[in-house]
């Protein structure tokens, strides 16, 4: 008999490619593009319908010749194939290590323009920190904690098996007016992602050798499948500041409650918020020079920020041809964003083409190329000591300021600034926005070509060439008339990076009885080459002409580096009866960056997976699946190029504080200098040992799944550019040093709580905790500085502790041993706190992070939401310090007239004894200016805990019936919000998720004039033809 029918999903959409087998035989067919099938069977036989991601259905053939099937999505599919290191596909069941995978929908439903941000709250074991509301700014992602205090902790990004760069390029120092132009993983088009897999442990990534010790993020892009489909989606989104500081609106500018221009007070010298009560109606001369009556402008900051808007259009055409032998996918995406800082914008164009072809029976090829062009305008400067740092100006304006006073900002002839704030070099904010450009333009190409040859059965050979290159130009200028650089200047920096990866991989795959054996061996050649060339032109003759010939002096620079790695590797995988899998890998690398003779290093790994439910044939309704896995790996890594030789370099400039840097030649003389970092010809490779054990359980037919992992990694012989005493003549010295360990626990829980008549409620929860401990730092080293900020504030590591924030604290009473007594804070004879020792202020990293995603589906409707919780860690906020010392923060207006005695403080009697303080503060102004002074960090350090409502999305998928009259084969509309709210935070005034240092640094836990992060609300339409 011939049985036919149609297989569709819950929404009534046809499912092509469903496997239909006759139980107990080898006979099987597939559904066609329209989900139709026909098969010849005997009555009484059972048809088995199976499809990846759907629950398998069995149907016994009865009297009817038509069997239509509606398949439902499985609660948790454990048969999934995961793309692992080197692009090797393996069944997740057989993996001896933990991986987390995020699928395309997570990137497209609430579409983020930045891939990393879309991962927030979705996977365990990773920590993601955004940079606030600056358009195109970087997002930092760290997997399983910081393993190095010296080198980079950023994971390796791999697209379709080929490593690509995630560099974070920024100009100038991180602390003085740094402009973060983003990290290059942002170039990945979220619409092109099929899956994103995070290989967390070194074992998972050991085949990548030295570059794997920070984990690997593997992206597999979509490829053409099924019949030709045109897919189009558009997203429109609006952004506004998520959290603005809580200002007082009672007091105007001045000092000690008074402001009188008659005695010489003026806005430039007055404190922003320590003046008279605004409503008392005093007068002042505003920045434009007009006499004004004090009036409060509570919406000053709101009025300044604009409504940001993001538009994304994506189009793709994909399918297979030539009877399925060839596949193709062409996609393009265009995003345009306008930021909340007026005049800031980002435009991005992605083009990609991916194609595969079966050339001969045993030879196939794959080809993929991507082109990305990103342009950013009006990027924001953070930190301090740079006229372009905008947030610092906006937050510090007196509450009496009407923002419209700053327009116009330039005189009619276009050669002078109007309405400058002019305190210590502060410009009119609109001058900064409109006259001083900060742009970047990046062109990137990455792609690969591979050939797969199967000379005989069971053996396949893969040859692949991967190439990734980008060129980026950063441009910024200070218009003639910018206070701080009145003569004007411009800086142009071109960065060019190239990475070539050649792989050759041979695989032998066979089954011997109950054993499945896979053997692989390969060679990898990787070459990275980076160069930058730039110029700073100072003193513009014609204001708008940014040419080296138009300036009074030029400071040019040039840098270059090139490095290579050659690796050979092997992989052995043996599976017994599908429930026991042993995987061993080995790789040896030769790096160009280490000394001759000491530049070869070997990395072994071993992993075991044991599905005990299958082994012991446990088949209970409660425990449906159980697997134990464990692994060990040892990886290591090299260092940067040119760290070995003692080198003299030509100098083009010499530093001068307050923008006074001068240039060589000086009086016609050239200058050279020895190195600031003492090189080391005896560097050896770093070493990292990893252990991991995991348990995966599925209950109630896998409606409830649990995946737990415990890991420990220990990194020794770190290659560190150690901060050494300057009195040695060097600032830093290259050395192998110390030991750092990370211990952590990860938990992922998935539950299909309700499945009833088309209604489904899924909950996904993840939990991660990681503890970084500096086991050893080396003799004589008290604190190793990872990144330093201002006035002694730094991110550092001390032996026996986690990575911490260090800074100046209030002076405290000393015990007999001369150690500070924690709860005895001292005040001076004026009853005011003052600066004491420099000490640890807390851990930079959180105690744990959690994410929760809930989704409801009913027929075509999907409602999903994600929260994430970060507990612990500390954050220093300069914004809080500034708002308080300047008398602008709401709390500074409370009881301003009351001269209280600072509670629980003490005074030193000068003889080693202390008495309780009874001196009232001289004024509330002096109390706050001392308490929150930026030289005392303790008072501006807060518990960084927060809960963020990351995502809320509602979408509707039209069903077949509804689509009958429309030209689409699929239509989905949705509304979504991102970063909707912050709860449970003790950080005042700012969003605690912020980081001055960006993704290119190991620094964290410091905010300095950051741009407010944004809340976005938008909608999305996706159609397929």
């Amino acid at each position: 008999r011939v049985i036919s029918g149609k297989v569709s999903d819950e929404q009534g959409m046809a499912i092509p490619g469903v496997t239909i087998t006759v139980k107990g035989s080898t006979k099987g067919v597939l559904t066609d593009f329209d989900g139709n099938y026909s098969v010849t069977v005997n009555t009484g036989e059972t048809l088995v319908f199976s499809f990846l991601g759907m629950e398998t259905i069995e149907k016994t053939v009865g009297t009817s010749n038509v069997i239509n099937i509606t398949m439902i999505e499985s609660a948790q599919t454990l048969e999934e194939v995961v793309v692992t290191a080197m692009g090797i596909e393996r069944a997740e069941k057989t993996l001896g290590y933990g991986v987390s995978t995020v699928k395309s929908d997570d990137f497209t439903v609430a579409r983020e323009t930045d891939v990393i941000q879309a991962l927030q709250g979705k996977i365990s074991g990773v920590e993601i920190t955004g940079q606030g509301g600056g358009l195109g700014a970087s997002s930092k992602i760290t997997i399983r904690g910081m393993t190095r205090i010296g080198g980079s902790n950023n994971p390796l990004w791999v697209i379709d098996g080929v490593p690509i760069s995630d560099a974070n390029d920024y100009t100038t120092s991180r602390i003085t007016g740094a402009i973060d132009y983003g990290n290059r993983a942002q170039d990945i088009n979220p619409d092109d992602i099929e899956t994103l897999t995070v290989l967390k442990g070194a074992s998972a990534a050991a085949l990548y050798g030295s570059r794997a010790s920070n984990g690997v993020i593997m992206v597999t892009t979509k490829k053409g499948k099924g019949k030709s489909t045109i897919s189009y989606s558009t997203t429109m989104r609006f952004d506004s500041p998520l959290k603005l500081p809580d200002f007082q609106n009672i007091y105007g500018p001045g000092n000690q409650g008074s402001y009188d221009e008659g005695v010489g007070d003026n806005l430039q010298d007055a404190s922003s918020g320590w003046g008279p009560v605004i409503s008392e109606g005093g007068t002042y001369t505003d920045y434009a020079g007009n006499l004004q009556t004090f009036t409060s402008n509570p919406d000053l900051q709101k009025d300044f920020y604009a409504l940001g808007a993001t538009k994304v259009h994506s189009l793709s055409i994909s399918g297979v041809s030539n009877k399925g032998l060839n596949d193709y996918r062409i996609s393009t995406s265009y995003s345009s964003q306008e930021g909340i800082i007026p005049g800031s914008s980002l435009e991005k164009l992605n083009l990609s083409f991916k194609s595969g072809a079966q050339l001969f029976n045993n030879l196939s090829s794959n080809f993929s190329m991507n082109y990305v062009n990103t342009g950013i305008e009006g990027a924001v400067a953070q930190g301090t000591n740079d006229p372009n740092v905008l947030t610092g100006i906006i937050n510090r304006l007196p509450r009496t300021t009407d923002i419209s006073v700053f327009t116009p900002w330039i005189n009619e002839s276009g050669d002078a600034q109007l309405a400058a704030v002019d305190f210590d070099g502060t410009n009119n904010p609109y001058w900064i926005i409109n006259e001083n450009q900060r742009t970047s333009d990046t062109e990137r190409f990455f792609g690969n070509v591979s050939l797969n040859y199967e000379p005989v059965k069971n053996i396949s050979m893969l040859g692949r060439v991967g190439y990734d290159t980008y060129n980026t130009t950063h441009f910024s200028n200070k218009h003639k008339g910018t206070i701080g650089l009145l003569d004007g200047s411009y800086t142009e920096n071109h960065i060019s990076r190239k990475e070539l990866t050649l792989d050759f991989l041979t695989t032998y795959d066979n089954t011997f009885g109950d054993f499945d054996l896979t053997l692989r061996s390969g060679v990898q050649w990787n070459e990275r080459d980076w160069s930058t060339i730039g110029n700073k032109g100072i003193g513009l003759t014609i204001p708008e002409l940014f040419d080296p010939g138009n300036v009074e002096s030029n400071v040019p620079w040039k840098n270059y580096s090139k490095r290579r790695i050659l690796g050979v590797f092997g992989d052995f995988t043996l599976t017994y009866k599908k429930w026991l899998t042993l995987n061993a890998t080995a790789r040896n690398d030769w790096s160009s960056t280490l000394p001759k003779g000491g530049n070869s290093y070997f990395y072994p790994s071993i992993a075991l997976s044991f599905i005990f439910t299958d082994a012991f044939e446990i088949d209970s309704n409660i425990l449906s699946y159980g697997k134990i896995r464990g692994n060990w790996a040892n990886v290591g890594s090299d260092t940067g190029a040119y760290q070995l030789d003692f080198l003299y370099s030509p100098q083009s400039s010499f530093y001068g504080q307050f923008n006074t840097t001068g240039t060589f030649p000086f009086d016609g003389q050239l200058a050279f200098s020895g190195p600031n970092t003492l090189p080391n010809v005896n560097l050896k490779p770093e070493n990292q040992a990893n252990y991991e054990i995991g348990l995966e359980l599925g209950f109630f037919k896998n409606r409830l799944t649990l995946d737990g992992t415990f890991y420990k990694n220990v990194t020794t012989d770190q290659i560190i550019s150690l901060l050494v005493p300057a009195s040695t003549g060097y600032s830093r010295a290259m050395t192998n040093l110390g030991q750092i360990s990370n211990t952590g626990l990860e938990l992922e829980l998935g539950a299909l709580i309700i499945r009833h008549k088309g209604f489904r409620w899924n909950l996904d929860y993840n939990f991660s905790t990681n503890e970084t401990i500096i086991d050893e730092l080396g003799e004589g080293i008290d604190t190793y500085t990872l990144a330093s900020a201002f006035n002694g504030l730094l991110v550092g590591a001390s032996e026996g502790e986690s990575i911490g924030l260090y800074g100046n604290r209030f002076a405290r009473a000393l015990d007999e041993q001369g150690n500070p007594i924690e709860d005895m804070i001292l005040v001076n004879s004026n009853g005011l706190r003052y600066e004491g020792d420099n000490a640890r202020l807390g851990n930079v990293f959180p105690d744990f992070t959690m994410g929760l995603t809930s989704s409801f589906r009913y027929k075509g409707w999907t409602l999903s939401t994600t929260f994430n919780w970060k507990e612990g860690g500390v954050l220093y906020s300069n914004t809080v310090s500034t708002l308080r010392t300047s008398g602008l923060a709401a709390e500074t207006a409370i009881d301003r007239e009351t001269l209280f005695v600072d509670p629980n403080t003490f005074v030193s009697n000068g003889d080693g004894t202390y008495s309780e303080n009874t001196t009232p503060i001289p004024s509330v102004q002096e109390y706050w200016t001392n308490y929150s002074a930026n030289r005392i960090h303790e008072s501006s350090v807060f518990d960084a805990t927060y809960i963020k409502w990351r995502e809320l999305g509602l979408s509707y998928n039209f069903n077949k019936k509804q689509l009958q009259k429309l030209p689409f084969s699929s239509l989905r509309i949705g509304v979504q919000g991102r970063n909707l709210a912050i709860f449970n935070t003790s950080v005042p005034h700012i969003d605690p998720e912020t980081n001055l240092f960006g993704s290119g640094s190991n620094g964290a836990g410091i905010e300095y004039n950051g741009v407010p992060s944004t809340r976005s609300i938008g909608f999305n339409i996706q159609v397929k033809f």
């Binding site: 290579r564 010499f654 530093y655 009086d667 009195s727 040695t728």
Partner: protein
Amino acid sequence: DEQLVDINKDPLAATSVPPELLFPEVLANLSSVRTIEFAGANMHAQQWCGSGGTWLSRSRYVLGVPSVNNGWTTWYTTCLKNLSLVELLVESENPNNKYVIAQAKILEGFIYSNITQVWGDVPFTEAGNPVEYPYPQFDSQEIVLEGIVTLMDEALSILEQDLDSEIVTDSDLVFNGDREAWIRWANSIKLKMLMFIANKKPEEVASKIQALVDEPLILTNEQEAKFSYTTAIGNENPKWRFIQNYWGGNINLWYAGRPLVNLMNELNDPRLPNYFETNSNGFYVGKWQGATGFAVISKINANNVLPDTPDRYSTASETYFLLADAAANGYVSGGLEQANTWFVQGIQAALDYYDGTWGEISQTDKDNYIDSFPDLSTLTPEEALDYINDQHYISLFGNGIEAWNQWKRTKSVELDVPLNAGATDVIRRYTYSTNEAGSNINTPQGLTIETPMWYEK
């Protein structure tokens, strides 16, 4: 493997360079710290007064940790390190060029004199040798000052010989390879260091000071050791670049300090219009450090901050005032009569400094001023010293580090404890660089900015 490793050579740097190429880097960085990074020393000497922003902070003893770090790091690494590399390069490339080594030693001594005047006890004997001393000990100021004297003696013993040695000329931005000039400077530095030591141990160093009287010293304004900024873009005085960048060359936040103005008003000093502008009422008025409200206060005359205003390392007037001080104290022979001669020569050199410039002082004014002082030989040594050190203090206007230390050494004028500084005494030293303290376990603890220098009486 060979092919793999051979690319690890930086194409943009050299493994050896002619040693003189390191001099401009040393000098430009030395002066950048002296002129702008530590411009706050002018406020510590209370000759200048900051009215706002960073400068008001400096008046209030907020030193700026980055500035402290920059100054320390620049002087130890960029300056002293490159000078020690000069010596290494000479020894490996051409060991005959001993004069180059002497030049390096004198600069080294001068830089240490700056370092110890700012911080007191600092690494000296174990500095600049990372392999042997990864955590250099901090030497007492006494050892540092004596060590600088020894460095000068070593340099002088080379320079005083007629050797077949090259000398750095074009890259020598101080004296363009003038050997005599280097000898004079070495002796002047030595004199100054000995005078610091004499404050504490007069008997031990008096004979050394006496011996210097007949040695070549910087005695005319032409002989002055200075770093000459130029009007070429990028080579201007950093202080000028600062005010140019912010206020188009106008002085906005630098006003007159009260003790100096009061002293000069009392003396009817002809340099008043050179140093300051009059206020709107036509008077010279200074301000208490740390206070606000500058409507009637005199600004610093912008002519002191021109593009080509030099960084004056050692001046002729300084030599005379030190000698006069030594004579009045009896460290050298000649008594108060000799002291008076040097005192007058010192004032003369200080007033003549403006000859041929924007601030030229008329001969009548010069004569009247000099005549207004009593003959020091008619006074007690204490009274004479008071005159000498007041003039010395006035002459160091714009040389913040020197003026501040002259006060610390002599306390000739009464300085104020600044307002709003949380201080109980006048600042004596900078806190140690946090970078050094964070990386060197030998960094002394417990010193405050009010802890006196070793050399103070």
